[in-house]
């Protein structure tokens, strides 16, 4: 279990109950727990959705899709069952925030699922938890059981006459199953392969029914928005980028950890002030701004505001909040190789470009870093990644291609430094330690 960190610039919303024993239901109630759900109960679905829209909340799972809008896509008149699906498959290297929420504040996730349910007239929700997070499943199971025991879940929630059930489901160890449609397949008991879209989950999702799927942090934000007011949440952040989010600061920083900072916070400040700078006073070589799948930024590119639009302007993505700092001693070829090892292992194999592309890239990068590289390999690595980009069945292929393209174009010289059998001139071990959440 991870140590908690703190910084004065933090605005603790989702993390406000961290370290306070809120996994215990009484403690959670004492800390304003389940008040938001009760507040939402008499509200109309549209009113709830409007609150979430006002809050400017955008998905914390990676793509940053406006949450209120996503909820509004569910066809209200559909006679089918509707489902809320909480995506707790958190497997993106560099990202380690959902685990803290699930560990320290599991009831806020349940409450968020309920609020989403009320917003779309769903009567059940599933909380899907990454296979490797087994200890969190135990915490979640207890939380669900306690909520049932208090009558917060079940046939008559809070005595309102309304019905709502919550189930948990454990993954079996596949990054790909974090992709929303693959997650649904997995939950339905099938191989974790994504589905053809359209139709989108809001219309045809779990068991063919309209489904809202959101990240753990997204859903855990909902109770705070309902209870404290949407505008207040929105005001923490920047226009169109409402609120605060959990940044997972890791890599070569003095004070790594998960910090809850307002959207739009300066990346530079995050590294040097919140994170306490680089160990040994070294220089920054690169920064991964939003999890291993996002294009890396060079030291010159980090003077940016950390919100969805700010990072996009810099040519990368805010992604899932995993900020990895890479110092000057690190080998970028080894880093690229290490990332590709992950994606090659996690590709579901369904489509040609991702299955073959990651395998080919991994083999090439392995050989290249070991000293067997030739000049045309460099172009070939770029060619392969560029030809995967935008052509795969699901975004995993892009996730593998994007960092690779950015590394090979921005750090081409480092590739050239490995040619002709020269030993790696950088610290190769450091680059391996950079990504803490590898699933194997």
């Amino acid at each position: 279990m991870a140590d908690l960190v703190s910084h004065p610039d933090e605005i603790k919303v989702v993390s406000k109950r961290f370290g306070q024993g809120a996994a215990d239901i009484d403690r959670y109630l004492a800390l304003d727990g389940y008040k938001a759900a009760q507040k939402a109960l008499p509200m109309t679905p549209d009113a709830i959705i409007n609150e979430v829209k006002t809050s400017g909340l955008r998905g914390r799972g990676g793509a940053g899709f406006p949450t209120g809008m996503k909820w509004s896509f569910v066809p209200k008149d559909s006679p089918k069952q509707k489902y809320i699906l909480c995506n707790g498959d958190e497997s993106e290297p560099g990202t380690c925030k959902d685990r803290l929420i699930l560990e320290h504040d599991p009831h806020s996730v349940i409450e968020g699922v309920m609020i989403a349910g009320l917003a779309v007239n769903a009567e059940s929700g599933y909380i899907y938890i990454r296979g490797e997070y087994r200890y969190l499943s135990i915490i979640m199971q207890k939380a669900i059981k306690d909520a049932y025991a208090r009558g917060f879940l079940g046939k008559n929630i809070f005595g309102s006459g309304k019905k709502f059930d919550v189930y948990w489901h454990g993954g079996a160890g596949a990054y790909e199953v974090g992709e929303e449609s693959a997650l649904m397949e997995s939950l339905e008991g099938k191989r974790g392969i994504p589905r053809i879209k359209p139709p989108f989950p809001a219309v045809v999702g779990l068991w063919g029914s309209p489904t809202v799927i959101n990240n753990v942090e997204t859903l855990a934000s909902a109770p705070h928005i309902i209870l404290d007011g949407a505008q207040k949440f929105a005001d923490y952040g920047t226009p169109k980028n409402g609120g605060v989010r959990l940044f997972c600061l890791s890599g070569h920083v003095n004070k790594p950890g998960v910090y809850e900072l307002p959207l739009g916070y300066s990346l530079k400040k995050m590294i040097y002030e919140v994170g306490g700078g680089i160990p040994g006073g070294k220089k920054i070589k690169a920064v991964v701004p939003g999890g291993s799948s996002t294009p890396v930024l060079t030291a010159d590119e980090i003077d940016i505001a950390m919100d969805f639009d700010g990072v996009a302007k810099a040519g990368s993505m805010l992604g899932s909040g995993g900020v990895v700092v890479i110092d000057e001693s690190t080998c970028m070829v080894r880093f690229a190789q290490y990332i590709m090892k992950f994606y090659q292992h996690e590709s579901c194999g369904w489509c040609i470009p991702c299955r073959e592309g990651t395998d080919w890239l991994k083999k090439t990068l392995d050989r290249f870093h070991a000293g067997g590289g030739v000049k045309k390999d460099i172009n070939n690595i770029q060619y392969l990644a560029e030809n995967m980009m935008g052509r795969t069945f699901c975004p995993l292929g892009d996730a593998a291609a994007m960092p690779t393209i950015s590394i090979v174009t921005k750090f081409r010289k480092e590739f050239e430094d490995h040619l002709e059998g020269r030993p790696c001139p950088y610290d190769p071990v450091g680059s391996v330690r950079l990504l803490p959440v590898l699933s194997h």
Binding site: C351, I352, E356
Partner: protein
Amino acid sequence: MPDVNITVDGKKVTAPAGTLLIEACKTVGIEVPAFCYYPGLSLQGACRMCLVKVEKMPKLQTACTTVISEGMAVTTDHEEIHQARKSMVELLLGNHPLDCPVCDAGGECELQDMTFSYGASESKYTEAKNHKEEQQWSPVVFFDRPRCILCYRCVRVCDEAMDVAALGIQNRGSGSVIAPNMGDHLDCEECGMCIDICPVGALTSGAYRYKTRPWEMNHVATACTHCGDGCKTTLGVRRSETGMEIVRGDNRDKSGPNGDFLCVKGRYAFDFANRTDRLTQPLVRRNGKLVPVTWDEALTYVGQKLAEIRSQSGGASMGVIGSNRTTNEENYLLQKFARVVLQTNNIDHQRTADFAAFAAALAGRPDATASAREVFDAPAILLIGNDPTEQHPLLAYQIRNNVRLHKARLYVVNSESVKLRRQATLFSQIPSGSEAAFAAFLAGGDVANGANRDEWNALRDQLRKETGLVIAFGSELRGASIASLNKFALSVQGAKLICLADYANSRGAADMGVYPDLLPGYVPLIQGSKFKAEWGTLPDAAGLTLPGMVDAAKSCKLKALLVVGANPVFRMKLDPATFANSFLVVQDLFLSETAAVADVVLPAASAYEKSGTFTNTYGDVQLVKQAGEITGTKSDFEIIVRIAERMGYDVAKLVPFGSGSRADMGQSRGAQSGEADRHAVWLEAQGLELKMNPFDPTAVFDEIQRLVPGYQVSRLNLMAGNDQHTRLDQNGGGAVGDPALIQPANDGLFSSGSTGRYSKTLNTVMENRNRVEMPKVAAD
């Protein structure tokens, strides 16, 4: 559905709403490359070969999953698309063996073609390829993992089209692999659909692999000779020491009622034809032993003997047993031979379904029968008796896929829990033997024992609400029951019937009048004036049935018996001495149980080695074309003509050859190749082609089309290789006979009358599955 307008590469395309972009492109001749997309199977979006540009979409889109929408503007010819296709092929080839010269699929591989059309000439890949040893999954299915491009066609065809689901995907990422259902081997229907649909050399056929290079084969389109469904098949043939060897069967151009489909028999069980113990020399019994003689000797002997018996004892002392597997022309010729040459109506065949009663019930009722194609489109199907999965694989396939793709409603009434119940809207299990009672109930009767009254009533009510119901029934229903069923069918709007018989040309034998009391077209003897006028003679008295002839033989009244392509000793479990007092002539491929006791055995060509037509159990007539050739054999057609000739009969009266007028204006036909020699087809269809010799079956087909009611189908279509539905409503009247005359073969998926025993593939498949073994081949 309303039409939708789009543009593709500037061309205007109009297609029904719901059409996939890849299909819409085809309609204007624009090919979008595809590996994983396969019409009729579920969509995958996996191979990414079909990426195209759709206006207003930021990324390239897969044409195979995109449904067209009004005003959509699509580009398929663009640098970005060319590059996407090229890189997709490169990525595949990266891990693919590049040993095409020794790959079984070399020359007919979609990956080769794609590389040729869209790929790169230079390989960027320098890494070691992922290797795995080849595996044998069943006697006929081999899997070579490194060649697999993971298009998942095999998985889907087995699951969706076959409802077997014997194939799956294991592992993930670059470790993904197609796997058989039993760990290291398959337990399945062995249809080979997976092999056929595999675009590369990953799945190969144990019966065909490494026998030839594809371009060394010629391809002949003909019909399968096994069950009554009449699948069209393309046989790959090669010259061999003994003539022409058939090395492969598939339905290459997907024409015919069966589309892609062939079952294990259609795909592999042509191999009986290549057996080394095929008869290739006539045999004559001398001093109690069958000894080889020349054709001339044998035919002269048979001709003399038959002529002698005819003049001494009269036609009534002679009999003929016809075949379920010879062509229409041969069946027609055989009954004509019996009636005009032998001067007897003693002719019959092993009846596996009661077509005579079927004809009687349907006479004068237009549109009464459904074709094999119609089963695939019918809105509803009622199946009474039979187990099509085992006995009529194509019927099962059509029904299954109609339910899957068109949401047809299927009603199954059976005494067993047949596999098709899985597709059924309603499955009613009835006691064995109560099918006739059920037919009577449908026709308006009541339920005798009251047991399933409510269920049956509900079913009947529901069936009556259907329109266009296709009713297929097995040999459980005969005689009067068929009339009851027809009575019920008349109460359902647009209902059509299918009578299921066992063999490839059972229907043809019946249609061609291989009956003691019915002439071709089910014309009763007494109404046979048209035939009498044409033939000059026709015995009046009804002849003996098959059991009647056996009885006559036992009581020494049958002086001569000609058996063509039948094995009554085996089938009817006769004492081999039954025909000891008859002059027995047998035309067969093998020394069957019946041939073994004959006086003369004439080595016949199999249906794969001759030309003519077959009529499947639905009444669809199809062209049969010579593919194989075994030196020493003759077609039954030729044998019959030659016997007649040796009996002193004017063969021009038997076979009206020499008719037609010559209209070949000297155009060169040499340039034409392949199945459709269009000029010849046209000439033939117009009746302008001269029938040059008395062994030309089309001369008899001319007569069939002239005299047999219901066979006036389009000659041009037929000659071009299309199945043509005959009209049973125009038949001559039929007859309701003794239901006991119907003796179904009840073949399973891996058996085929007594011929199936000679198929090596069927035998090995069966041994492999530990199924009930087939009886040993007598000649072995």
